[in-house]
Amino acid sequence: MIAIIDYDAGNIRSVEKALAFLGENPVVTRDAAEILGADGVILPGVGAFGDAMQKLQAYGLDETVRTCVDRNMPFLGICLGLQLLFEGSEESPGVEGLHVLDGRIVKIPSEGGLKVPHIGWNSLQFPNRGRLFENLNENPYVYFVHSFYLQAADESIVTATADYGVQIHASVEKGNLFACQFHPEKSSDVGMQILMNFIKAVRG
């Protein structure tokens, strides 16, 4: 069973529906015991970094996420759910992230005629092909919606990048901890394959 962490973030239903489409029966919850008892955990998210951290803390979910990671449970952060795993974000100066991974979230520069937020389909490159991207062709397209992006401190955990004026670290993998900046739940067949790959990791 996969637990989707409910902390009032926006895209929870889409993630739930995509998993249901793939034959899973996910539970949307903010109950620590239920999350820690799951086979896999998803941290979704749309919105602002500071608000999201505040909500995670208010529900005591920051500790729950750290425990999931400590136990090496299959864990997938999506969009803001990726960003929250790192040290902090230029979006909310002074707010500490969950910091289970090293790196910072910085603003996408608006020079060069590229619009911010980065909304739409962009292709991925795979510097190290991670388990999330098995059974996919080179440079598949996925759907992004974000204004801030990851610069991971340790590039060896970066499994996908995207080019948008800057090089965006689009996905990371460390042990059973996965995260992607883009939205697999809105990325058509490619996204479904990525979620299937996560489900595979959950099933071990």
């Binding site: 926006g10 239903r13 489409f21 749309v46 937020p117 909304i119 962009n122 919606v145 080019d163 479904m192």
Partner: protein
């Protein structure tokens, strides 16, 4: 590589997709989730659904088909038609829609744009504009109520104001072009894309492959929308995208 988008538009009435030969004579064209899934398979980048008779009474019907689409199609989709309040936004987004298009309601109450953007984020607030060239050719006016009421407000100014209020995207329909198949109104599209920094979806007038190219490459649109052309199979989405790629436009294929 970042891509330009090709978006089919579906008109929905009483929970069914309809093809409008003219506004008075809609013909049933299927179940929204089925039609949406077919467009996804053909390579549509996003979908726009416009509920053409949405009212308070039909809200439940609307939520029902939105839920079905979201359970079956995993590309971003926008819902428009009859959305008047932040609570309407919330209800539709909860069912799995990604963006909400507002037109008349935003004209009558521009705060709806800022309230919704603050609450749900700019990325889900699409301001739809129906624009028609003024008789003296000095620019374009915006119309509300499905193009029936001239607001005597300038379309380019309204688009810029919508951006300042927090709109994340402009869905720009040329009423002069709509249904003609003579091409998008490039002058209008260019005027708006130059005055805002948010993406503009060009709509109204597509009839040939070149028209899509012109709106994207010569008028600065980020996305192109068409309805009847795709419904009637006169052009296929894949065909449009292959054409665009052959002319050097980056698209998802």
């Amino acid at each position: 590589m970042y891509t330009k988008r090709v978006i089919p538009c579906l008109d929905v009435k009483d929970g069914r997709v309809v093809k409008c030969v003219n506004f008075l004579n809609p013909r049933d064209a299927g179940e929204p989730a089925e039609v949406a899934a077919a467009y996804d398979r053909e390579g549509a980048d996003e979908l726009v659904f416009l509920d053409i008779n949405a009212s308070a009474d039909s809200r439940a019907t609307q939520l029902e088909w939105v839920r079905r689409v979201a359970g079956k199609v995993f590309i971003p989709f926008t819902v428009g038609g009859g959305i008047r309040t932040v609570d309407d936004f919330k209800a539709i987004l909860r069912e799995g829609a990604d963006k909400i298009a507002v037109n008349s309601a935003a004209i009558m109450n521009p705060r709806l744009i800022s309230d919704a953007a603050e609450k749900f984020g700019s990325q889900c607030v699409v301001v739809a504009i129906d624009a028609k060239r003024r008789a003296d050719n000095s620019g374009w006016n915006i119309f509300k109520n499905g193009g029936r009421v001239d607001m005597e407000m300038d379309a380019v100014e309204w688009a810029a104001r919508a951006e300042r209020l927090g709109a994340g995207e402009i869905l720009l329909t040329s009423m002069d072009g709509d249904g003609t198949k003579d091409g998008y109104d490039l002058e209008l599209t260019r005027a708006v894309t130059k005055s805002v920094n948010i993406p503009v979806i060009a709509s109204g007038g597509a009839g040939k492959l070149e028209h899509f190219y012109d709106a994207l490459e010569n008028a600065g649109a980020e996305a192109v929308l068409a309805a009847s052309l795709f419904h009637y199979g006169e052009l296929e989405i894949r065909q449009v995208k292959e054409y665009l790629r052959s002319r050097g436009v980056s698209v998802r294929l």
